[in-house]
């Protein structure tokens, strides 16, 4: 509108700084905004306030890794992170043969953080992993919920191929294609996969190298699961950038950056390392736990610490707790079983006093009724079997089943099943695995 002026969004700038610091970027001591001038219906002023030559941060990185080993750990460089304003939203409605475009200007002017990586990503899987890790980081920082479906995260991917040259030494780069319009991480992965194949076919057909043709823009088309060329009238737009005269430059001191760094809290990468170290869990386990957020990690850590068994705690939190959270659509904060009670239950399991399936029954009872571990175990008539009792029972069974023992010693390992069956008949609360282990030990260590 005539007469209005922009004002820098302080909170947006603070969140931007947090993000850039967490991405290991250098923070500029002096930064300013610039006008990017072009005409488009979703840009009501005819220019977008962005950052051109003095962005507030540059030269960072984000580490990605795959616990399943699908790619080698990779340090993805960040060229720059800058703060700009968003344009409105264009919605192209091509139903009923009409080709209407609707423009929603409500989004225009909201702060947008642009993160540009180096071309360090080497596969569609890495791209997906990068986005997943970035989203995790940004949710840990409380900067964004990075929801692609809702538009709080948008991704444009620039991809080309490096083809080994015929002579065997060096690689040849093919022309770059920018892929847009992907609305999920999976779509990004698929689009890049499709593009790689398509570009290779083009390479074989035309032999075009980087620089031979201008950069192309293609859109991901969900229905056909392909990328389609977008007709672009402008070759390279001249945005006539110049410093935004309505906004003043901003200085950021080293002290301010240090304070931000101190205030970040534990971030996903560091948290995963710590969990692996302190609780002896695997990379995969730490990934699952950390990806669920700080609160769940805290819950896990408290349980693990209490029972002294990271692996056991991790299994239960990952499988049983997480399953329940999902099934009942609740958060860990709303999860009814307190740390202490789960720990109490798991201590029993750890001590072999309670077998896993019985423990699970007790768990459900605790969940549904709010009983403590002890109360639940009692209420379900589960008797905790003391380890000494199991040992005693095994001695008795071995003593009264000499034929079975002889068969076992002779090589019929499955004979032990008979002892386990009898043990369960005598006391349904015994843990079959524990019985097997003790019987085998007793048999093998007896003369």
């Amino acid at each position: 509108m005539p007469g209005v002026l922009p004002v820098l969004n302080r909170r947006a700038f603070d969140l931007s700084l947090r993000t850039a610091v967490a991405l290991n970027c250098e923070i500029a001591n002096f930064t300013k905004w610039d006008r990017k001038n072009y005409y488009y219906p979703d840009l009501p002023k005819g220019y977008q306030i962005s950052q051109y030559d003095l962005p507030f941060s540059r030269a960072g990185w984000l580490d990605i890794r795959d616990s399943k080993g699908r790619f080698e750990p990779n340090k993805v460089g960040i060229i720059r992170v800058h703060l700009e304003e968003d344009a409105g939203k264009s919605m192209h409605d091509e139903t009923a043969g009409e080709a209407d475009s609707l423009i929603d200007l409500n989004r225009a002017g909201t702060p947008l953080l642009e993160i540009v990586t180096e071309p360090d990503i080497r596969s569609p899987e890495e791209a997906k992993a990068f986005l997943t890790e970035l989203k995790l980081l940004l949710t840990y920082l409380d900067v964004s919920d990075c929801n692609m479906q809702e538009g709080s995260l948008r991704v444009d991917a620039n991809i080309n191929l490096h083809v080994p040259s015929q002579s065997g030494d060096g690689k040849i780069a093919t022309p770059i294609v920018e892929v847009k319009n992907m609305n999920s991480f999976r779509a990004v992965e698929r689009a890049l996969s499709f593009e790689a194949t398509r570009q290779f076919a083009i390479w074989q057909e035309t032999g075009q190298k980087l620089g031979d043709v201008p950069k192309q823009t293609r859109g991901w088309d969900v229905s056909s699961q392909t990328t389609k060329g977008q007709r672009h009238k402008e070759e390279s737009s001249d945005y006539r950038y110049f410093p935004e005269p309505d906004l003043v430059p901003v200085t950021v001191t080293k002290e301010e950056v240090a304070a931000i760094r101190d205030g970040l809290g534990e971030l996903p990468a560091g948290l995963r390392d710590r969990l692996e170290r302190e609780f002896g869990i695997s990379q995969y386990d730490s990934e699952v736990l950390v990806s669920q957020g700080r609160s769940l990690v805290a819950y896990f850590a408290a349980v693990a610490e209490s029972i002294g068994d990271g692996k056991l705690a991790s299994n239960w939190v990952q499988q049983d707790v997480l399953r329940m959270l999902k099934e009942r659509s609740i958060t860990i904060e709303q999860f009814p079983i307190p740390v202490g009670e789960l720990a109490a239950l798991l201590k029993r399991v750890a001590a072999r006093e309670l077998n896993t399936s019985k423990a699970r029954e007790a768990f459900m009872e605790m969940l549904d009724t709010g009983k403590s571990a002890e109360e639940a175990i009692e209420a379900m008539g589960i008797e905790v079997v003391e380890a000494s009792d199991v040992e005693q029972l095994c001695r008795e069974l071995i003593g009264s089943n000499p034929k079975t023992v002889e068969d076992f010693r002779a090589g019929k390992k499955q004979a032990i099943g008979a002892l386990i069956g009898q043990a369960k008949k005598r006391n349904p609360n015994v843990d079959p695995a524990q019985v097997k282990e003790i019987c085998v030990r007793l048999i093998e260590t007896a003369q």
Partner: protein, 530 residues
């Protein structure tokens, strides 16, 4: 042009009201407080004066008689109730049509905004209303503030009250003419390259361009963002001081407004000129300056000297680059600021039926020629709407400046023009910083000539641009400057004296101006209008 209606006729020969129209705002405030006149009577006197002579002068684009009388009545009621009133307490104010006034026309002198009524008041307008100023109407101007004669208005020409065949100056020509003709005691204008000071000089009134950042630009329709400032025009430096106190101040909606204390300007102007160091710029008195103007300025400085000021020479070595630097920067910023006028959201839009017909005809022709490439390049309806709306809505000077600005910012030219201009701008500022080490105030002419005839320069834009010779450097440097009447030429056309000071020294330049006005009576002369 709209003229006030339903205004009770007030006898022109009523001595009391003749005095009213002649008085300064400060005198009127005293009269209001003393009950010698009411706010309603004042508003009526102005509305009547408008009805009487604006037909010849053409200062107003719209008059808000009804709301003005309503505000005035309310102020009278509150005064009668002994309630505390704001600093303006019922003084009528007219506003250049470049400032947003809620639900009232704000055309910027352009067809593009002919139908535009903003949904908000500019910050300055809010302050004036809060101070109990009575806004009586919106004033004519060069389209989007681009011009030095007000001839670029899409609607009407404003004539200089001193000689109706002459320009009033621009772009705040309506503001200056309004005050000179006694249609309002105070007017608000905007100054980007001299647009307050130059018309003030041509119309024999006082006009102030505050330091960049002194007054909020929120609600000022932007021409050149780093140069625009809002300021008052009135009949005396004292009135300027009064008004500056009302409109100055930091605004969180304008990031370029500065958070510094607001001095008590009315107190500052009471100080004497003893010991004030006044500089005359060597480069100003070189060829090209009217003799009458050079003499009047030197005489005026002589008056200051007789009041105790110390006069010396200063140099502004880069003065000769000011106009070129100004025009590059202003046009570049304007080309971007005016991109929003595309016919889509507000203001003028081309006739859609005609537009579609035009496109259809073109497509037919191209199809017949089989020119496939041209067909693909043909404007979409949206682009054609932009193209036609802007071509029809903007006047020639606006288009000229948009094109110059777009060119100077474009790839390959940015460094040679815009970037270079920014660097020279810094040098110009440094010249002033250096000069102000030795003097408190720089005295200079305001214009190279007195008011030229209407139509004389319309075919020679470059010659028109040179009118900004003495004023544009002040905008580039961001410093403050005031123009006060200091004489007449042989054709009885007013001459202005400019006093410029370092950033935020408005108190001091107004002090010098007020002292000058205590000693002289140029500012008390009235144009020979009936």
């Amino acid at each position: 042009m709209c003229v006030a209606s339903n205004v009770q006729q007030i006898s022109l020969y009523d001595e009391r009201f003749r005095t009213v129209l002649d008085s300064s705002a400060s005198q009127l405030l005293a009269d209001l407080d003393a009950g010698r006149v009411s706010a309603t009577e004042l508003a009526k006197a102005c509305l009547n004066r408008i009805a009487e002579c604006d037909g010849s002068v053409g200062a107003f684009l719209s008059v808000q008689a009804e709301s003005a009388l309503k505000s005035a009545a309310e102020i009278d009621r509150r005064r009668a109730n002994r309630e505390t009133l704001g600093a303006l307490g019922g003084i009528p104010v007219a506003v250049k049509d470049v400032l947003c006034t809620e639900e009232e026309p704000t055309t910027c002198g352009s067809r593009m905004l002919e139908s535009f009524r903003p949904p908000f008041d500019a910050t300055v307008i809010r302050k004036i209303r809060k101070a109990d100023g009575v806004i009586i109407g919106k004033l004519n101007m060069d389209e989007f503030a681009m011009g030095s004669s007000t001839e670029n208005s899409a609607f009407q020409v404003t004539r200089n009250p001193w000689n109706l065949e002459r320009i009033p100056g621009g772009s705040s020509g309506g503001s200056a003419a309004c005050v000179a003709a006694g249609m309002a005691p105070i007017a608000i204008g905007s100054d980007t390259g001299g647009s307050i000071r130059q018309p003030a000089a041509h119309c024999g009134v006082s006009g102030l361009k505050p330091t960049y950042g002194r007054v909020s630009r929120f609600g000022l329709v932007a021409f050149a963002s780093s140069l625009d400032q809002i300021g008052p025009l009135a009949r005396s430096a004292e009135d300027l001081a009064l008004m500056l106190g009302v409109i100055a101040g930091h605004d969180e909606r304008d990031s370029t407004s500065v958070n510094v204390p607001i001095p008590r300007y009315l107190d500052a102007i009471q100080e004497s000129c003893k010991g004030l160091r006044v500089g005359l710029v060597r480069e100003h008195f070189e060829a090209g300056l009217d003799d009458a103007i050079a003499d009047a300025v030197r005489t005026a400085v002589g008056v200051l000297e007789s009041q105790g000021a110390e006069v010396c020479d200063v140099t502004l070595p880069h003065a000769k680059y000011a106009v070129a630097t100004y025009y590059v920067i202003a046009c570049c910023e304007a080309s971007s600021n005016l991109a929003r006028y595309d016919g889509a959201h507000y203001g003028y839009r081309t006739d859609e039926n005609e537009m579609r017909e035009e496109l259809a005809n073109e497509r037919q022709k191209l199809l017949a020629q089989g020119n496939q490439a041209a067909i693909e390049d043909l404007d979409s309806p949206l682009v054609r709407m932009y193209r036609r709306s802007r071509s029809e809505g903007f006047g020639p000077e606006v288009k000229r400046r948009i094109m110059i600005g777009t060119y100077a910012l474009s790839a390959g030219y940015y460094d040679a023009y815009y970037l270079k201009a920014l660097k020279v701008r810094r040098l110009i500022r440094q010249d002033f910083d250096e000069a102000f080490q030795h003097v408190d105030v720089i005295a200079s002419p305001v214009t190279p000539t007195t008011a030229f005839p209407i139509g004389e320069k319309t075919d020679d834009p470059l010659s028109m641009y040179l009118a900004d010779l003495f004023t544009a450097s002040g905008n580039l440097a961001g410093i403050c400057g005031v123009s006060v009447p200091c004489g007449f030429d042989s054709a009885n056309l007013p001459i202005g004296l400019q006093l410029q000071g370092p950033p935020f020294s408005e108190g001091r330049i107004l002090q010098a101006a007020a002292n000058y006005q205590r000693e002289t009576d140029w500012h008390l002369r009235r144009p020979p209008l009936p």
